[in-house]
Subunit: 311 residues, 2 copies
Amino acid sequence: MAHALAIDIGGTKLSWSLIDRSYKIISHEQTKTPKKIDALIKELDKIIRAAVNSVDDLDGVGIGVAGLVDFNLGTVVAAPNLPLVGARLALRITDRFDLKCSMDNDASLAILGELFCGAGRGLTNFFGLTVGTGIGGGIILNKKLYHGEQGGAAEFGHIVVDAGGFQCTCGHLGCLETRASGTAIDRAAKKMVEAKPTSALARRAQDAPKGITGPMVFEAAREGDQDALAILADIGRWLGIGIGSLINVLDPELVVIGGGAASAIELVHDVVREEMAKTVINPRSKQIPTAISTLANRAGLLGAAALVFEF
Amino acid sequence: MAHALAIDIGGTKLSWSLIDRSYKIISHEQTKTPKKIDALIKELDKIIRAAVNSVDDLDGVGIGVAGLVDFNLGTVVAAPNLPLVGARLALRITDRFDLKCSMDNDASLAILGELFCGAGRGLTNFFGLTVGTGIGGGIILNKKLYHGEQGGAAEFGHIVVDAGGFQCTCGHLGCLETRASGTAIDRAAKKMVEAKPTSALARRAQDAPKGITGPMVFEAAREGDQDALAILADIGRWLGIGIGSLINVLDPELVVIGGGAASAIELVHDVVREEMAKTVINPRSKQIPTAISTLANRAGLLGAAALVFEF
């Protein structure tokens, strides 16, 4: 059976999997992302060489990058945490290994993973958000990723919902990412712990070296802690405003919510939907289904494999 | 030469044109929109009958409606100011007159007009906003209008940019329409006149029965009045935030700004672009061109004719 090598180049973590044509993940490995481009390219060469040697029928390499990607050229346009801007990475791999190589934004690939292996199977037009430290996204139109003219589409973390509000990592004020991401959860949790220093949530964080963090909030919320649930409900409201706004632009068949915070957002899914319905203008579109991804961190690698198998 | 009958059903005004295959407007008439559905249908019948009698080669009827339209069924889903919801208007016309009849949202048709007769000629993927009393929009993908699954796409007036802000006509808070439309100009102008009762702008409005209005602001701004220009600059900033957010979703070849306020916005086009560039995340997409429509109120009728000729 044919195989794809799927690689995810994150800001801190480099991970890769061999995936077969039925989208079964055969192997999974990870290491720290090298900080310099030469070291990163050497590491990628090692990974690809090992994959070529381990299966007879490697169809190609799909790469997800935490940054803005020129899908057609296989280059990185902008990536705050990666030394890759301008490198013709995909072309170099094809040239060196005689293998098809495609590259795309990691969040977009996670949504492509949903199309072939997740909540989007069988659908034609949908979009998804990946909610983690930041917010990424992907748009599926006619069963393909829609990139826009310059690869700048589906940057859902940077629609402005709260103009003049908190400063985003992008420098602008009030992006959705400042209100509905892991960063927003951290900020709200710190404020909550300061305001209620004797609460269960504060006690949970008191021995932690960095104080309260998102995962502590998730855990507390899952155990029914009201303060933690209130933090997530606020995140859910903002996410609902963002998703509702996006529905007013794209009116899809489905909205998928993925990323590291997806399972936490599941706890406030009703809040997300309530605010989304308030924001959506078309009465028919208020009922558009929203799905919480069940692919977890496999979504991006499965999407990278789909780049190899399906396009 | 083939002709199309283009009809625009607005909340207060019903207008229509015969348009030939080269998109030349042969005739233009208008009347008040009848408030009851029977009267409106009777008026439409009269208009179509007259068109059938006046040219030998009427290819069909294209209708724009100020409301949410089910493009496929030719029905109106929601229209706050029109008695048309649920009526199978297009089907009825085809049945009665043996003529092709297509119907779409008026703002979407204005952007379709741009594709065939305006700033979007020759382009494949772009979007436009119509800024008037409210804000409408249209998305062109692959040289066609993109409607979304339920006809709810391109409702650009209702992306939330200022959550918790002013209440919109849709009931929600902080929609783009509350900040960057004619309604927003009226609100800002009233506030300005109250704050500066001896200003030139206030004097301009003192004998007007309804006080200061948008057209007075436009006129004053064109004559260089600093207060009027400050009002428009604020509208321009919000419009730039909205357009920048939409570019982060759609990353088009071009953004067209049309509608009744387009020529006023032209005075602050640089402000719009500056704020847009701040909001756009992809460095390449900050340079996406923005065009002020020159089709004025012909855009929607030309788009309605395009429905007949091109699809």
